[in-house]
């Protein structure tokens, strides 16, 4: 077949190119530009080369924030995914309970993130907070402002409260798409409850679970608003995650060069980890 060469087609992709350029490419390039220069204000820049990157990769502060981030993501995934599956399995499949459960599940997702932070900030306070006050009244010494462990527990519980619903809703969508005949056939084959889960429900949920894990991982690795509102990264640096550290550096100290270098490294790490997750899980899928 004769191919038609026609450069007019470029006009058709132009709008999206312009949009992406302004929303992503140009800001990203600006960051790249900052990351290789130094400035003392007045819009005067000096070439710095890879200096900021070298400094960053040798900085203890960066690696500690990174470690906190990884531990945080690991803990919330380890809790939210099994818990989400468990709740989805126990949600009603028909009747008036369905809309009630769905709305209840969707509620935390609809609340703005800084409001979620504020809710838990007040909820956990040991002078006026419902949770903090009664936990202390029961004899536990709970104070997220002073104790790093308490701060971590608060941030993790808050994240579970906020985001488990997402896993639940995704899993539930996977579960209700399974035709009744599968459960009936399993009954006839004499399958146990565990076998039904292992060989029918889990395989059918696999795709949505992949999406759930990816979304939760990326989100938790970039978490900023909620811990910032609740603990402000403290006590000390105990809940200072990468994003909080980055904002401190960029806007608090106005160190544009180091902050730009950190942004880029941060971005590459998220890209790399997401790619690894995705590849591992889709390959596993293809092998089966």
């Amino acid at each position: 077949m004769e191919k038609t060469w026609n450069n007019k087609a470029w006009f058709l992709v132009l709008p999206v190119l312009v949009l992406v350029a302004f929303s992503a490419v140009i800001p990203l390039m600006t960051v790249v530009n900052y990351s290789v220069q130094d400035t003392f204000g007045n819009n005067v820049f000096f070439w710095a080369g890879t200096e900021w990157f070298e400094e960053l990769l040798q900085s203890k502060r960066f690696w500690e924030a990174m470690a906190r981030n990884l531990v945080f993501s690991f803990i919330i995934l380890a809790i939210e995914v099994p818990l989400g599956i468990f709740i989805a399995l126990n949600m009603p499949k028909k009747g008036w309970g369905v809309p009630v459960c769905l709305v209840a599940m969707a509620l935390p997702l609809l609340i703005p993130w800084n409001v979620v932070g504020t809710i838990w900030q007040v909820f956990g306070r040991n002078d006026i907070g419902l949770l903090g006050y009664y936990v202390n009244a029961l004899g536990f010494n709970y104070n997220y402002v002073q104790d790093p462990v308490d701060a971590w527990v608060t941030v993790i519980i808050m994240d579970i409260w906020h985001w488990t619903s997402l896993v639940v809703l995704l899993c539930y969508a996977g579960l209700v798409s399974i035709p009744d005949a599968f459960y009936q056939a399993a009954k006839i084959d004499g399958a146990s409850r565990w076998a039904v889960f292992r060989y029918i429900q889990l395989p059918k949920m696999q795709r949505v679970l992949l999406i759930a894990v990816l979304l939760r991982f990326m989100d938790s690795f970039m978490i900023y608003t909620e811990p910032f509102v609740v603990t402000g990264g403290g006590p000390g640096n105990s809940t200072t995650f990468l994003s909080i550290d980055l904002v401190k550096m960029a806007l608090g100290q106005f160190d544009l060069g180091p902050a730009a270098a950190m942004s880029l490294v941060y971005f590459l790490i998220i890209l790399l980890l997401s790619w690894v997750f995705y590849t591992v899980m889709t390959n596993y899928d293809a092998e089966r």
């Binding site: 009936q184 009954k187 006839i188 060989y199």
Partner: protein
């Protein structure tokens, strides 16, 4: 294998059924003989799947009893009844191989692995999938998947019955014939009690020794394909079986004669019904179109390949007649009713005719 007695079973999906119309299954009383091949035939919503699910134990009936070989199993679970069922859409365990799919029901019942292996290999041969034993089940075609569903039933040597719920719906037409004849073969070789639900009359008539026709929650007739064709017990059976269905005409009786408008139709005997409004049923195959008999006006001729279907107006009623592929419709068409094909219905049910 088992003889299955359905003992005055009624079923309603409502919690407190009161009227007759609340029941999906009004009252079914029938015995499926050991080793028989039965088809449950009827339109959508007639209760045939409900009856099947009651037999398999996926549903428990509101009233009545179910006996397997004389033993009451009404309250037993599906598993305890030892039934195999093949569903409309193939059910396979995606993550397992073909072999593991077949082994699954046995392993669930803690059968020793040596026996599992022997049984699975036997079954693979029966359903012609031996060469695919180690393939992932989800990569197979729809008809192969449906064979796996069937195989999971066959693999348990002691099943009481194999139930089919419209198993060929998603299968390609040319594979339908193949699968159906393989089913028949399995039935002849191993003598399973088989109950096959379908709304397709061809499927029912070719598969089963005896066809159970259901309509509106009731069994209206049980018989061989020939009986259903020649002597439909209910006008519904007449409509539903045959293509096109039976002509049903309102007539007035007078001894051996049925009168429709100005026409007098000679009957083969005296119907044992009150004289008065009844219906006359005659299949298009017995309506002879020619130059003699009663006058009709032809409205349409449909050529279906092997024969032609003539739609005509007879005393203000629509009737259908079948003529040969090469026959022509005469200029002044007339019809004659072959007495051998005439049935008389009172209140939709067939009445016997005396001499």
């Amino acid at each position: 294998m088992a003889r299955i007695e359905v003992n005055h079973i009624r079923h309603s999906y409502l919690p407190n059924p009161k009227k007759d119309s609340d029941f999906a299954l009004k009252e079914v009383h029938h015995t499926f003989e050991d080793g028989g091949a039965y088809a449950l035939l009827g339109p959508s919503g007639c209760g045939k799947t409900t009856l099947l699910n009651i037999i398999s134990g996926l549903l428990h009936p509101s009233h009545g009893q179910l006996l397997f070989n004389g033993r009451d199993v009404t309250r037993l679970s599906t598993q305890e009844r030892n039934i195999a069922q093949v569903f409309q859409f193939p059910v396979i365990y995606d993550t397992m191989t073909v072999y593991d799919n077949l082994a699954f029901p046995l392993r669930n019942r803690r059968v020793p692995e040596a026996d599992v292996d022997r049984k699975v290999r036997e079954t693979l041969d029966m359903i012609d999938l031996a060469s695919m034993a180690n393939r992932k089940a989800r990569r197979l075609t729809a008809d192969q998947k449906q064979k796996i569903s069937l195989g999971r039933g066959l693999v348990r040597s002691d099943v009481n019955a194999i139930l089919f719920d419209e198993p060929l719906t998603v299968i390609d037409p040319h594979m339908k014939w193949v699968l159906r004849s393989q089913l028949k073969q399995l039935h002849r070789r191993f003598g399973y009690t088989m109950v096959y639900v379908t709304h397709d009359q061809t499927e029912a008539l070719t598969f089963a020794d005896r066809v159970v026709v259901m309509y509106d929650g009731e069994i209206v007739q049980i018989g061989t394909p020939a009986e259903l064709f020649e002597r439909p017990r209910h006008t519904f059976v007449g409509y539903f079986i045959g293509s096109p269905g039976m002509n049903v005409l309102p007539v007035a009786l007078e001894g051996r004669t049925a009168m429709l408008g100005a026409q007098r139709i000679e009957l083969p005997g005296v119907p044992k019904a009150e004289a008065g409004a009844v219906e006359l049923g005659i299949r298009p195959e017995y309506v002879k179109l020619g130059r003699e008999g009663m006058a009709v006006s032809v409205s349409k001729v449909e050529d279906v390949g092997r024969h032609k279907v003539v739609r005509a107006n007879f005393e203000g009623k629509e009737i259908a007649a079948i003529i040969g592929e090469d026959d022509e419709v005469p200029a002044e068409p007339r019809v004659r009713f072959d007495p051998a094909g005439i049935n008389i219905y009172a209140g939709s049910w067939r009445v016997e005719m005396g001499a």
